[in-house]
């Protein structure tokens, strides 16, 4: 008997016993659904973060001081002389109270130079980012994150109005789009020179970001930077450096690991319900074999080989689990879509995940279908025919 006929038989049998088949499949449906939904949560939540780091650029190297007085503006001048460096941007930061007419809040103020916009490319919600103020002595301009603007009870029409940074009046030039900027929540940006006046002590910097001319030379530049800064900071031998250099790849790797771990953890939990679903199928198939003993006897009498009976029951179990798997994938993706809306990450259909889920549910069908199918095929025709 060819597989097609066995599959057709299995389908018509499943349709003929709709309620029972539906209930049998429920375990697999729920298993696959949770597998798809949970793994998509793990991937969606982390890929959002990953995208934001990618936004920082694979060519970027970030140097942070481990103390308040590790990095200086003189370091930057020397770094700019290294080869393979496209552009350097420096930042300082401090915590200050911001006050509008209606509210006030503590905020992280970051002073940035004119290169910052090129290197980091922040997303603007309304207005513009800080203009080039290199030659202005006291440019009291500020860009707020949306979160901050909301905390201060400001809106899109607040561009051009002023708020107090500590006790000094600043003019708002732009509001950032928080949704896309990692670490920008609760942050405000002002020009570097201005920052040195109001929130930080020159010449100390909190971070330096270097953009290399190409992605390939990132490791080389990292080595050179480390050597340069160690020499400048008089760090020799085993002494620990007072700065940390990170590039996007390290962060991406770290997030990738978290993502894998989360996917495995959540996927593992969901797989347990798939196995439980498989046991449900086995249970029903065993009952079905018993109920259909006489049918098996008839089939054996008219010439069905043991292998053909085995195939028939195995296909039935596989069809049950596979149809359950397909329904589970559909529901799971719908759930994943709504979770993505809720969590504000990108929803993406993962063909690998879908195929893996279907493959796994089919595997469950085979594993838990074999025993009932073997039981069916081993029935003695004479006894099976006599079975009432």
């Amino acid at each position: 008997m060819n597989i097609l006929i066995a599959a057709r038989l299995a389908f018509s049998r499943i349709i003929a016993t709709k309620t029972r088949s539906g209930l049998t499949m429920l375990g697999i449906i729920i298993g696959v659904m949770s597998l798809i939904a949970l793994v998509s949560v793990a991937q969606g939540a982390t890929s959002g973060i990953q995208d934001q780091f990618k936004g920082l650029g694979a060519r970027n190297l970030n140097i942070t001081g481990t103390t308040n007085q590790s990095l200086t503006t003189d370091d930057v001048k020397e770094i700019e002389k290294l080869s393979g460096i496209e552009i350097v941007t420096e930042t300082v930061s401090g915590r200050v109270t911001l006050s509008s007419n209606e509210a006030s809040t503590k905020a992280q103020i970051i002073g940035v130079d004119q290169n910052y916009k090129t290197v980091v490319d922040p997303d603007i919600f309304v207005g513009s980012f800080l203009p080039d103020v290199t030659n202005a002595s006291d440019a009291r301009l500020i860009v707020l994150s949306t979160t901050l603007a909301t905390d201060l009870k400001l809106d899109a029409y607040s561009i051009g109005s002023s708020i107090a940074v500590g006790s000094t009046e600043f003019t708002i030039v732009g509001i950032l789009d928080d949704a896309d900027g990692f670490g920008t929540r609760g942050t405000a940006y002002i020009p570097l020179e201005t920052a040195f006046k109001y929130v930080a002590v020159p010449p100390y910097l909190s971070s330096i970001t270097v953009q290399t001319t190409s992605e390939e030379i990132v490791p080389e530049v990292t080595t050179n930077l480390t050597a340069l800064l160690k020499a400048r900071h008089n760090i020799t031998g085993e002494r620990e450096a007072d700065f940390v250099i990170t590039d996007a790849s390290q962060l991406l790797d770290a997030i990738g690991t978290v993502q894998q771990f989360l996917s495995l953890l959540l996927g593992g939990i969901a797989s347990i319900s798939l196995v439980v679903g498989g046991i449900g199928i086995m249970n029903i198939m065993l009952v079905s074999v018993r109920e259909r003993t006489r049918e098996i006897g008839i089939r054996r009498a008219i010439g069905a080989q043991q292998s053909q009976i085995l195939t028939q029951f195995l296909i039935e179990a596989i069809v049950l689990s596979l149809v359950g798997g397909i329904i589970g994938v559909i529901i799971g993706e719908v759930v994943a879509y709504f979770l993505a809306q809720l969590g504000q990450w990108n929803f993406a259909l993962s063909p690998t995940m879908i195929l893996a889920s279907l493959g796994f549910s089919m595997f469950v069908g085979v594993v838990f279908g074999v025993w009932p199918a073997r039981t069916a095929s081993k029935l003695k025709p004479v006894e099976a025919l006599r079975f009432e």
């Binding site: 060819n2 097609l4 006929i5 049918e295 008839i298 080989q305 053909q308 004479v382 025919l385």
Partner: protein, 229 residues
């Protein structure tokens, strides 16, 4: 004439030790091609065991059983199953049509198991249903057919494989006398076409329609009579 069934000193026992039961006890028969034989006996006479042996559903404890030239004792389950598929056309008392399956596929199923392509198998099945006057019911499932109609479908299923013999176990037992008579007419007609028929029954009136009657009692043949042509 070629021999379809041959039994030599066949014994079949069930159980062990003190509870041993001899269902057949030294039976010898030969059934030739084209015969119409009724195997008659009360319940417990051994006729079901006889049917199982002729039908290649079981093997003898001792003695020789040859069906279509094959010694059953030498065949494994796979070969025995193939022999059933090739040589035997079963007709059962309760029809035993496959559930959830239409008449056409019921008839085609033995060919499916033989590996005949579905299209060809259904074509042959349709021809057989047409021959038995059931063509217009080919899409019906067994629950939608009367007893007589079900038995016709079952006979079509038995004939479709062009077997060496039709083995009918109380084929009229579940039918009213009129329908039962029609089924027997059908068997007579088929036998006239040269088809070998072995009928298992306890009903002497039915047995009278056969051309030869083998009577069993307590596992032994007590009578073997043929109509004189």
């Amino acid at each position: 004439m070629s021999t379809v069934v041959e039994m030599l000193n066949v014994t079949k026992t069930f159980g062990e030790g003190s509870s041993i039961v001899k269902a057949l006890d030294g039976v010898d028969i030969r059934i030739e091609k084209g015969e119409f034989v009724a195997i008659v006996g009360a319940s417990g006479s051994g006729k079901s065991t006889m049917m199982n042996l002729i039908g290649c559903l079981d093997r003898p404890t001792a003695g020789l059983v040859k069906v279509a030239g094959e010694d059953l004792s030498e065949l494994n389950d796979k070969k025995l199953t193939s022999l059933r598929n090739l040589a035997i056309g079963f007709v059962f008392q309760s029809f035993f049509l496959l559930p959830k399956t239409d008449a056409l596929d019921n008839v085609a199923t033995p060919l499916f198991y033989r590996g005949v392509p579905a299209k060809e198998a259904r074509k042959k099945a349709m021809e057989m249903l047409t021959k038995l006057g059931m063509a217009d019911r080919h899409t019906h499932q067994s629950t939608q057919l009367s007893g007589g109609q079900q038995q016709r479908v079952a006979i079509a299923r038995a004939l479709v494989t062009e077997p060496s013999l039709i083995l009918a176990d109380e084929p009229t037992g579940a039918l009213d006398s009129n329908t039962g008579k029609q089924v027997m007419d059908l068997f007579e007609g088929l036998n006239r076409e040269g088809i070998t028929i072995v009928l298992i029954t306890h009903d002497l009136d039915i047995a009278k329609r056969a051309k030869r009657r083998i009577t069993l009692k307590d596992g032994k043949i007590i009578n073997d009579e043929r109509d004189v042509a």
